[in-house]
Amino acid sequence: MRFARCLGRFRLMLPTFPRRAVLRSAAALFLGLLAGAPVRAAQDAPLVAAAADLRFALDEIAAAFARDTGRSVRIVYGSSGNFRRQIAEGAPFEVFLSADEAYVFALAKQGLTVDEGILYATGRLVLVVPEGSPLKLDPELADLAAAVADGRVRKFAIANPEHAPYGRAAQEALESAGAWAAIRSRLVLGENVAQAAQFATSGSAQGGIVALSLALAPGVLGTARYATIPERMHKPLRQRMVLTKRAQATAREFYRYLRQPAARAVFGRNGFALPGE
């Protein structure tokens, strides 16, 4: 071949081209693509956006729903404010369980939901104090300002008040107790209330304010203790759920299921007050 002769003096420089390795990795790549294919199969299960305080209660209800109906839902937990934004931006959620009804009303106003939804629960706040923390377990939060002043509290966890309803309620409770100004600089903010609970009990913070539903879930708080904060210290956490305009049959069935006595009992067991009782 003409070009081979011409390239003769460069021949020595050519490293061996690992054809077999290339073929093998190409095959592996292809297999990887194929392995990814079954991911699509689960996609007919409707997507449910749920406030992070529901993490354990809703898992239990979804499992019962799957048992009773043979259908499943895919639940994403996060902060209600984030979901409100994501749904407005076109996220494919079919059911939205908010921890704050204002987000549901805002979406309804934009015409993104079927109706204005229904109230399904009222949430409660708790003060969480991990084992060995010098903080007093006082539901009225009277000790907090003093604990910041004398250095007993260096870090205190709540959810981000900007977009997490439990964070906002925690801020209101701290304001009612007159401790907000003092503790502001000591706050660690969870992206949602479940992360705040994780921060509060990790041992790196001396306490936190989270949802009662998370405090009651088995194994969540470990050895931490908690005290329920009086409802008068914050605006009620009125939790509203709604079907979005994308809702299909399974989502509607799940929405109905959430209002059945069995589901309501799970909410009740997990520290939620139920509407109409």
Binding site: G32, V39, V76, E89, A194
Partner: protein
């Protein structure tokens, strides 16, 4: 162990490599072989994801692909589902944030090929395509392998952009990195620990492969001297 999330991550990584590396070969070879006005600017743009905070990239992608943007509206009208919070949107984001990881090693590899060789190939009557396939790619294969491995590994690990653009939807946009984050919030440290170990292993393998190829190349150069 969230196998759905792991499979999703592997699929995303494989597709990103399949799209980005072939495109990267042409871009990198062009940048390596040509000089033109504004070349530094083009190179800087392709390198930008290296230094740009992922949340900044995530923010702009969210704005550019969201339901209220022209691109987002056009895509939803054409395909029937939105671009953000879907696998497709995640793939677009993944291709963009991996640009430097594919292009840089390829460009370095093509730059290391002496111009003489390209000229010799041309004077032997090889077309550009033949020269690329038969001469340059075989010489640049360590760079190619590095590009593939880095892009793949980086896709598995990316967090900020994926969270902002994808929204952590199971089976759709919840990658293994997001699953770890989610497990920690679900107080499942054992699950998070296992998945972290899997990612650690994959990362060590990826780095191992790239270092092995570059050291083998150095050895060969030493022998040639």
């Amino acid at each position: 162990m969230d196998t759905t999330a792991l499979l999703l991550s592997l699929k995303l990584a494989a597709l990103t490599v399949a799209i980005l590396v072939p495109a990267g070969i042409f871009v990198a070879r062009f940048l390596a072989a040509r000089d033109f006005a504004g070349k530094a600017f083009v190179e800087a743009v392709f390198a930008l994801p290296l230094v740009l905070p992922p949340t900044v990239l995530g923010f702009y992608l969210l704005v550019a692909m969201g339901g209220s943007s022209p691109l987002g509206r056009w895509y939803e009208a054409a395909v029937g589902h939105p671009l953000v919070f879907t696998f497709d949107g995640l793939l677009v984001a993944s291709v963009i944030f991996n640009l430097p990881f594919a292009i840089q090693p390829l460009q370095r590899a093509f730059e290391a090929i002496p111009d003489d060789l390209r000229h010799a190939a041309a004077c032997c009557g090889l077309t550009e395509a033949q020269s690329l396939w038969r001469i340059e790619l075989p010489l640049a294969w360590p760079g190619l392998l590095t590009a593939v491995v880095l892009t793949f590994a980086h896709t598995l690990g990316e967090f900020g952009v994926v969270l902002m653009v994808g929204g952590s939807i199971p089976g759709e946009t919840k990658t293994i990195a997001l699953a770890i984050y989610d497990r920690v919030q679900g107080f499942d440290m054992a699950g998070a620990g296992f998945m972290s170990a899997v990612l650690l292993l994959l990362s060590v393998l990826a780095i191992g492969v790239t270092f092995l190829t570059s050291s083998r190349r150095r050895d060969r150069h030493r022998h040639a001297d």
